[in-house]
């Protein structure tokens, strides 16, 4: 388990650190240490030093990771719910309804969605709630396609036909027989959606359109680090490296899970 799921272990360790560190450190993520602006690593009580206005880097990394992962999980859940509802309905009803619903998905796939999300952020203010609703609404398309395919094959299976013949109402068939059977595949794609969402959230935050100060996220930290990289490269390398590690680990685990179910 430990060696086979090494990437998952890394992610869990990162999550545990992000959750526990704020309690263990003597500095909060927005607290300014006036005596130590741009302190180098391992100076005094700042393990990774401080940023250009004297905030503890490690505390900011922990807080940023928390927000990034929280947004990612919430947005992935939005995409899961919308995707399953859409895909299952299309796959179950079939025929013209299915045709029309899937055409819509195809059409949406072709849109410059990032730009619509950017517009949304600009228009409705940059609340964190909107960040994950917006992202979730972009990422549901793949889920809908996968779920539809699964439901269409399940529909032909004898146990579903038997349930139908026994007069079970469609809602019950859906809840009792179909959903449990697509749970595995849905989980695999959920796992692959999370890194996608992390990427989108960080992208928005990097442009200044996502999570807003005083809250912080890995995207904001990368942006701050990039602006100050000629003075202290650590500011870019730490959050950037952490972000890449999270993305790579989640992608590897997600792909493994997907390959197991397909």
């Amino acid at each position: 388990m430990l060696t086979r799921h090494f990437p998952l272990v890394i992610v869990l360790v990162i999550v545990a650190l992000a959750l526990s560190l704020p309690w263990l450190l003597s500095w909060t993520y927005d607290q300014i240490d006036w005596d130590a602006v741009r302190a180098p690593a391992f100076s005094g009580s700042h393990i990774f030093g401080t940023d250009e206005i004297g905030r503890d880097r490690l505390a900011r990394l922990a807080a940023g990771t928390q927000i990034t992962l929280m947004v990612a999980i919430a947005a992935a859940l939005v995409s899961l719910i919308v995707g399953i509802a859409w895909g299952a309905t299309a796959g179950w009803i079939g025929g013209r309804v299915d045709e029309a619903m899937m055409r819509i998905v195809d059409g949406l796939y072709a849109l410059p969605f990032m730009f619509i999300v950017i517009l949304l952020m600009v228009v409705f203010g940059r609340s964190i709630l909107l960040v994950f609703v917006g992202i979730g609404l972009v990422e549901w398309l793949t889920m809908a396609r996968v779920v539809r395919g699964q439901v269409m094959t399940l529909k032909q299976r004898p146990f579903i036909l038997a349930a139908e013949a026994a007069g079970t109402p469609p809602i019950m068939i859906m809840v009792r027989h179909i959903l449990p059977n697509i749970a595995g595949v849905a989980l695999a794609y959920l796992m692959l959606t999370v890194p996608q969402v992390v990427m989108v959230e960080s992208f928005l935050s990097f442009l200044g359109l996502g999570v807003q100060e005083p809250l912080t996220s890995l995207g904001i930290l990368v942006k701050e680090g990039a602006d100050d990289m000629d003075m202290t490269p650590l500011g870019l390398l730490l959050p950037g490296g952490l972000l890449v590690v999270i993305l790579v680990c989640l992608t590897i685990e997600g792909e493994r899970l997907r390959d197991r179910f397909s």
Binding site: I116, V123, F124, V222, A226, L237, G240
Partner: protein, 306 residues
């Protein structure tokens, strides 16, 4: 083929119209306007500006006016860059964005197909596993991390490449294009390997082997073409990804491309500029999807529509 092209172009018109109208009304719902500066303008100036740009008319009328001018190729004036029309700004920015995106996709195809081919030939061996691991890592590299990291390494520390701006020669293109191409090349490598691995198991390859053809000929003449079908279908999403990636890369490297105008325009409520760029992006993506479908049909004749 002409049937496919005309049908696609005809369905593109309503799609574009929906995008334009949706973006138009979305922008107008936003609080704040293009003339909210640091110092508030007095009432009469405000009203005069509103009138000059037609912002005092009913929304539907403005939308209708916008679309009817757009059909004639007029994107309207920029509200923030007062001396320029949106068409002029697009004419300045588009070549840079297209060059970045075009070079990135060529580079990504070159790296991705080569790596995928190599991995498929050595399927199951160490080289295959290493290449596929690298491809996974590459797909997970966001441009906003690789961009600044490359600038730090090659620009600031090694001093080999310019950190920002579009100077003489082509050196300024290297880092932005590499940052853009990396994640796409990873995805292409995976698709090529998967495609080739399944094609090499098929009957026509066995027949070719039985006839004594050389491995290289089998690989390039009979294997690669059908194996690239999944790659072709990925080109549409890849183009969309490159356009969004270009927004970041242009910001990071200070390049005056379309993406930068888009972000600036959105932040400044420059309605015509944002609408113009969104419309153009949508048209480009639709065009690229069509292009990808044509390549698809060329690679795999069974996919051609009757």
């Amino acid at each position: 083929m002409f049937g496919l092209i005309t049908r696609r172009l005809l369905t593109a018109i309503p799609t574009l119209l929906v995008i334009i109208l949706a973006s138009f009304f979305l922008m107008r719902l936003a609080p704040g306007g293009p003339f909210d500066g640091e110092r508030p303008l007095d009432q009469t100036t405000q009203a005069a500006l509103q009138q000059a740009y037609g912002l005092d008319r009913p929304l539907w009328e403005q939308a209708w006016l916008y679309v009817s001018r757009l059909v004639q190729g007029d994107f309207g004036p920029s509200l923030v860059y007062r001396d320029f029309t949106v068409s002029e700004l697009i004419a300045q920015g588009l070549p840079i964005s297209l060059m970045l995106g075009g070079l990135a996709i060529v580079l990504a195809l070159a790296i991705g197909v080569t790596a995928g081919l190599f991995a498929a030939v050595r399927a199951g061996k160490a080289a295959d596993k290493v290449i596929m691991m690298l491809a996974t890592v590459a797909t997970a590299l966001p441009t906003f991390v690789t961009g600044p990291a490359l600038a730090l390494l090659f620009g600031l520390w090694l001093g080999l490449l310019p950190v920002s701006g579009s100077g003489d020669g082509a050196a300024w293109l290297i880092m932005p294009v590499v940052a853009l191409a990396l994640p796409v090349s990873g995805a292409i490598a995976k698709l090529t390997r998967a495609g080739l691995a399944s094609v090499l198991k098929q009957d026509h390859i066995r027949t070719a082997r039985a006839r004594g053809l050389s491995e290289t000929k089998i690989l390039f003449k009979h294997g690669l073409r059908p194996a690239l079908v999944p790659v072709a279908s990925y080109l549409g999403p890849a183009a969309a990804g490159l356009l969004t990636g270009a927004v970041v890369v242009e910001t990071v490297f200070g390049l005056p491309g379309l993406g930068r105008y888009f972000v600036q325009g959105a932040l400044n409520r420059d309605y015509p500029l944002v609408l113009g760029v969104v419309t153009l992006y949508a048209a480009l993506i639709i065009l690229f999807n069509l292009f990808a479908d044509l390549i698809y049909g060329w690679l795999d004749p069974r996919m051609r529509e009757e």
